[in-house]
């Protein structure tokens, strides 16, 4: 049985944010608790029953919101568009309806110009039962996202859920203005099992949790420059970092792309021969690499800021 404590009767929201685990919360709880109380208005909510038309072929149950919540709310009084994936439904994967809700939201952000977007990623990538529709949705999302950024919209990705941010979700994340990741968060294109199946267990042992987290996890992404911020696993931490990143990120244009090209080229020069994450961390001046995985966020962020100052103009 799966009864999480965070589904108990309501307690005052301010207290909840500081103690509620982002990882344990549902997508709905993340949205409700992260935004200003009562500010959230959903677009195509579950009562509209826009479920997947494709799962019945596989005798699979549907979810009324097809696993993603899209809407508008306020954070510290300022308007935001929000999309939140439910990682426990079909692994948070992109299906036809699920993807289209995010596409529509981003196109609206493009046309509105002045309202930032928060994407609460929690996804294994494309939903296989709707693979072509899911893949196309991701392509359309990427296009709409860049169009929105070209119109001046800030788009921040938050990653810390059960499904991580895998597959096409990882590509969408790479298109965002900035990313925040927690200890539980992972970002990758291929998943651990797929790498092992394709290349063998010597290449990548998918059951070696420490290896998976060193390679794809939040701390490594922060140290590598694959995410701008590392945060605690609380709704409060994600709320605060969202506010910070919306404010900190630059616009999008040729300078950003050139800066990113230079960063990514330099990364290959510096770390292209590294066999493991610890080699990258050592090269960045981290003295005690063995201590990194167990470090709490505050200590880790001190270390990370010394190793690599985040950039907000090269993604």
């Amino acid at each position: 049985m799966n009864i999480s404590k965070s589904e108990a009767p309501a307690v005052p929201i301010v207290v909840n944010r500081k103690i509620v685990s982002w990882y344990e919360a549902s997508a709905r709880q993340r949205v409700r608790l992260m935004l200003d109380a009562g500010s959230f208005h959903e677009f195509i909510g579950p009562e509209q029953r826009e479920e997947s038309p494709h799962l019945q072929v596989f005798d699979l149950p549907t979810q009324f919101d097809d696993g993603i919540i899209t809407g508008r709310g306020r954070i510290a009084g300022a308007p935001v568009f929000v999309a939140a994936q439910e990682g426990r439904f079909m692994g948070g994967a992109f299906g036809e309806v699920h993807g289209a809700k995010l596409t529509g939201l981003l196109r609206a952000a493009r046309d509105t110009k002045s309202v930032p977007v928060l994407i609460l990623f929690d996804t294994g990538g494309v939903r296989l039962q709707e693979a072509n529709a899911g893949e196309l949705a991701i392509a359309e999302i990427m296009r709409a996202l860049i169009e929105a950024r070209m119109a001046g919209v800030k788009i921040v990705g938050l990653i810390g859920g059960r499904a991580g941010c895998y597959g096409g979700g990882g590509l969408i994340a790479g298109c965002c203005s900035a990313l925040a990741v927690s200890e539980q968060g992972r970002i990758s294109v291929s998943g651990p099992e797929v790498i092992e199946t394709n290349r063998g267990v010597e290449e990548f042992d998918s059951r070696d949790r420490a290896l998976v987290w060193r390679t794809m996890g939040g701390k490594h992404r922060r140290l590598l420059g694959g995410a701008e911020a590392f945060v605690d696993d609380t709704v409060e931490s994600f709320r605060n970092i969202a506010l910070h990143l919306i404010d900190a990120v630059s616009g999008f244009g040729p300078d950003v792309l050139k800066a990113e090209q230079a960063c990514l080229e330099q990364r290959l020069q510096r770390f292209g021969l590294c066999a493991d994450a610890v080699d990258i961390w050592k090269a960045e001046g981290v003295a005690d690499t063995e201590a990194v995985p167990a470090m709490a966020a505050a200590d880790f962020n001190d270390l990370a800021n010394k190793a690599r100052e985040p950039r907000y103009d090269a993604r």
């Binding site: 009767p9 149950p61 426990r88």
Partner: protein
């Protein structure tokens, strides 16, 4: 996939003024319940979509027990079920009614 539907008379109208609430997630061993205040005060309805076929009698019993205990008058409860056990179903139904009876936040 199996679709089940039960209508009951309820002793009392469910408290509160919220018209809509939702709880749960469709995952293995879990379910979601969408509850809408759209029926006359003494009626209730529970609609279920489930991938686990052949458990009609169990659903009927759980639903009857729920209606008896919680008196969900005026409520339509719609369920997408991922193969939850009866006690999880009972819990979610109770949570759903509690949510729709709460004051708006």
């Amino acid at each position: 996939m199996e679709t089940l539907s039960y209508r009951h008379k309820a002793q009392e109208r469910a408290a509160g003024s919220k018209s809509l609430a939702i709880i749960g997630v469709v995952a293995s061993g879990n379910l979601e319940v969408l509850v809408e205040r759209v029926l006359p005060d003494t009626e209730c309805r529970i609609d279920i979509n489930t991938a686990a076929e052949g458990f009609g009698a169990v659903w009927e019993a759980v639903v009857a027990d729920f209606v008896e205990r919680r008196s969900p008058g005026g409520l339509k409860l719609s369920i997408n079920d991922g193969g939850a056990r009866p006690d999880t179903v009972a819990l979610r139904l109770a949570q759903a009614v509690r949510l729709i009876e709460e004051d708006d936040q």
